[in-house]
Amino acid sequence: MLRISAFALAMALALPAWAQPIRLGAVLPLTGPAAVVGTQEQRGIQFAVDEVNAKGGIGGHLIEVQFEDNQAKPDQSVLLFNKLVDLVKVPVVFTGYSGPTLAMAPLATRKKTLLVNGGAQADALDKASPYLINTIPVLAGELEVLADYLFGDASKKTAAVLYENNAAGIAGRDDFVASYTKAGGKVLAQEPVQFGDTNYRPALLKLGATNPDVLFVIITSGTPQLADQVRQVDAKYMVAGNTFFSDPELIANPNAEGFTHTQVLINAPDGMAAAFKAKFGTEFDFFPKQYYNATTIVLSCIEHLVKAGKPITGEALRTALLEIKTFKGITTTVFNTNTAATQINMNRLTNKTDTIIKVIPPK
């Protein structure tokens, strides 16, 4: 009898552990002006999770993600982070956009929860928290590449800056100005636009009046409207930007002909892109790829812990990530610090296609 009870107890302790799903959290803008990016990020996460679950999960555990909508608002993000960590008890929270991520970073440190950012690039994210893992390089590295290319290869000696008046835009402006000035260029003027405002004409007119060789643009949405208005004001300067220019609508816009930009490398096999499109009805473009990559990194760490029989906590996941260090997913991602290093390309929009014009390997 005692032996049977001991066996039953052992089964009771073991079975639920196998049966229980591993629940992760995500705080992303699913409504509001940033939702176009947020929903794509959500799909990237879900795509990776569905792929793992279709194979039976990790060590018998299915993976679940609880998505919360922060509308890209930092205050809302803090509330939702607390909800996910304190009530749902998730060890990992996926995040996007610099402002909300920076707002959650101190909480991630305090609660030892892994905060995984696959899309935001403000420099402050690099050192915001030891528990904040950036699976995409921060802006400084990307814009240094752009500034060197513009001043050197493209011989653009003067620049004007149009930036979005938020954490990502301001960080991008400061990084570009510092790198371009260091390269030898001169920044003639800079103007902000509000997030979600697609009327760029006043700023374009003012910046155009300084006759720059190049206009550096760092805005996260409304790039097709920008292209239209640049042509309407009969601009003579070159237009340059960063990865944010990899918007399919911008690429398809004939007014964006000649727009030049940096592109953080992220590739996906054709079959995977087709499967994504069949599942969600949208292209497997930059942000879903990045969040798919970020999710596979987290799932690799979970697998590492499950195999080692260790508990899945934020602290254990962070340690596992820095131990594994190199992840060969859809793109090779290396973590020498908590911010990933990847290859960056220089691209140009030509005949409605985004073409690589120069490859810059990671430093």
Binding site: V36, G196, P202
Partner: protein, 285 residues
């Protein structure tokens, strides 16, 4: 010549803003309802016109669909929400909160149906530019100016020359007296809401023709239009329109002397100081 470009850009934007301010002013002066959902009606007009266009309707018919649908939406909002709340003795604050809620519901419904992507009408003629006095204007911008001026003149004619317009002014002036003299304020409220909603659909279509459609795009425009209405003098159509144009021009021209991040703050700062000296507005009777 930068000042001329900025001035013209301000005038164009001011005409769009002016249509929103005048339509909001008609509603507020007559019903005393702070109709925040006007921002959502503005957005709805553009999206419905976009849908009509994508279903093969000609441009003029798509604009008409937007205008008529907004007029019907405005009528329903007044009849099914505001009037019911008013009959049940709801305060203006309660109605304001209901309007806020309705606005959120409508905008999120639009975002759910159409996505939050910035949608484009994609009409090449709308983006075609014409040089006027050395300033390049798109066809959409020129249409906005024409529509803005015609809407303003139309609103003035309606308010001062038509029977319904006179009833509207009477109700706005003294609702109690209007009630006992059988001017039927509730019917006037519905008619005004329909007219104002139809009017706000015009910039709701023309502005996105130029700048793209966004589900939440009406909110900042309504905020500025509200300030224009108050600074212009509640109930004054000319005040709302001219101050809206003034704000837009000032915001644009201020770029000549200050960086863009200060533009909105300083423009509205000037109006706050102005209101201290003339709290009833510039054109108050």
């Amino acid at each position: 010549m930068l000042w001329l470009h900025l001035l013209v850009n301000g005038l164009v934007w001011g005409c769009a803003l002016g249509m929103v301010a005048v339509s909001f002013s008609l509603v507020f002066a007559t019903t005393k309802i702070f109709h925040v959902a006007h921002a959502a009606v503005y957005g709805l007009g553009g999206y419905l016109a976009w849908s009509a266009l994508k279903h093969g309707m000609p441009e003029w018919a798509a604009l008409l669909v937007g205008i008529v649908a907004c007029a019907i939406t405005g009528t329903l909002i007044q009849k099914l929400l505001y009037e019911r709340l008013d009959r049940r003795g709801a305060t203006h604050l309660v109605i304001l909160i209901a309007s806020l809620g309705l606005s959120a519901v409508m905008q999120n419904a639009v975002a759910a149906v159409y996505t939050s992507n910035v949608l484009q009408f994609g009409l090449p003629w709308a983006a075609r530019t014409t040089a006027i006095g050395g300033v390049l204007l798109t066809t959409a911008q020129m249409l906005t100016v024409v529509a803005g001026i015609l809407s303003y003149l139309g609103a003035m004619w309606f308010a001062h020359r038509t029977v319904l317009g006179k009833r509207m002014r009477a109700v706005a002036s003294n609702p109690f007296l209007a009630e006992i003299t059988r001017l039927q304020p509730r019917q006037v409220h519905i008619a005004v809401m329909a007219i104002a909603s139809a009017m706000v659909a015009i910039p709701g279509v023309l502005v996105p023709l130029d700048l793209g459609l966004q589900p939440f795009g009406g909110v900042p425009i309504l905020l500025t239009a509200t300030i224009a209405m108050i600074a212009g003098g509640v109930g004054s159509i000319s005040g709302a329109f001219l101050v809206a144009v003034g704000i837009a021009v000032l915001q644009n021209l201020s770029l000549l002397v200050i960086p863009g991040e200060w533009s909105i703050g300083i423009t509205f700062g000037i109006f706050v100081i102005f209101m201290l000296f003339r709290p009833r507005g510039l054109f108050a009777g």
